[in-house]
Symmetry: C2
Subunit: 257 residues, 2 copies
Amino acid sequence: MIDGRMAPEGDPMTYCVAINVEEGLVMLADTRTNAGVDNISRFRKMFTWQEPGTRAIALMTAGNLSITQGVLSRIQSAIDRASAGEDVETIMNCPTLYRAAEIIGEAMREMTEAHGDAIKQSGASASASIILSGQRKGGRPRIFLIYSAGNFIEATRDTPFLQVGEHKYGKPILDRVITPETRLSDALKAAMVSMDSTLRSNLSVGMPLDLAVLKRDQFRFDQLRRIEQGDPQFGEVSRAWSEALKHAFAELPSFEV
Amino acid sequence: MIDGRMAPEGDPMTYCVAINVEEGLVMLADTRTNAGVDNISRFRKMFTWQEPGTRAIALMTAGNLSITQGVLSRIQSAIDRASAGEDVETIMNCPTLYRAAEIIGEAMREMTEAHGDAIKQSGASASASIILSGQRKGGRPRIFLIYSAGNFIEATRDTPFLQVGEHKYGKPILDRVITPETRLSDALKAAMVSMDSTLRSNLSVGMPLDLAVLKRDQFRFDQLRRIEQGDPQFGEVSRAWSEALKHAFAELPSFEV
């Protein structure tokens, strides 16, 4: 973590980004997962829950799929049991988002303790990470990045976005345009451009994408949609950005050679 | 090597790029090396030799410094002995650039065999890589990327650039603008922009930079210079690119939120 915004390298077959600006949160994830070169398949990496007016939460996962699926299964099971009237603490009824990050961290640590050694012995990486984003009534919008060991960091005013997976290709544009004062519509545009740069430079990150937008103090997702290959809006951003970059490059002062 | 242009991750404290276009070669390297968080220091990563009219070669190194310095020491020693009249094959008198890549590969493999295990036992990474670029009379300009094991790959028309070290931040712009037909002046500009993106996103890659430009069939470096912090030309590219990106981003179609 040289500059506070670097993400674990565990699973390059993923790119997820969450951005926290004053107007709200933007979350964008790809859906490609790879279990060997000849076996590329798609799994959701974004999972959302909302109790409109009270709480909305999105998780995005990267890294070992058996670990992250196990964590999600525990989280969903707790929510189901609470819905059935059982007295169990969940990410949807716990007092704060910070406590939700702790709950996810505990599940990550337990799954890693249970399976990590065996996974490593098989030659695979057991590392995994999860981005938790959301807002509860009475709190502010927050983003946490939770590691396999159960520890976590939070996005701050200085670092208003967090990424997991193949994060480097798409980081320069975020570094340049994202501040807490960035408009939510621009944060969404920046997430799209960041994903587009990643898709172009790394074939293992792929469409379709899952998008979630949560406006501040709404406690209900404003957008929750899948962006399919051929999506006209994403295609237009991709095409326009490519043109704009080429134009910007051509306009740079020339070098004598 | 998902897309043929990825580089080893061994040493993120470096960024070097070599670009091969029809008009010639551009090589750009940073100079920061880190042996612990509190001990950032500078070492050259670019080394050049030329016999004007006959052959010009540049090497750029990444990874374990003791390995790459050992390799360079052998290469230089062979060149010195040949200059003194000894009958020894060197990268400057061997018949082809391909053979030069083999010579460097042999030195890499021998250094890694001699020291790799002890380095790993000390907890450090022994991985290293070297980019060889140049042209000999009778041959075409070529770029090779040589790994610790002594094996190597070559830049082709499909992949006209090779990178080592912290290569991801600066790859999207190269992916977008570099083709074999790109003008040499634009290749130089692209190398600068690629380095600028890397410097902004990773504090462990740092100024000053070393630049080499070799026009096709000249067998003599056209430019060989150090770009210091505060260099007006690099500063202008950095500033103009930042402005151009912000402008291009603002001009993209907006999203409804």
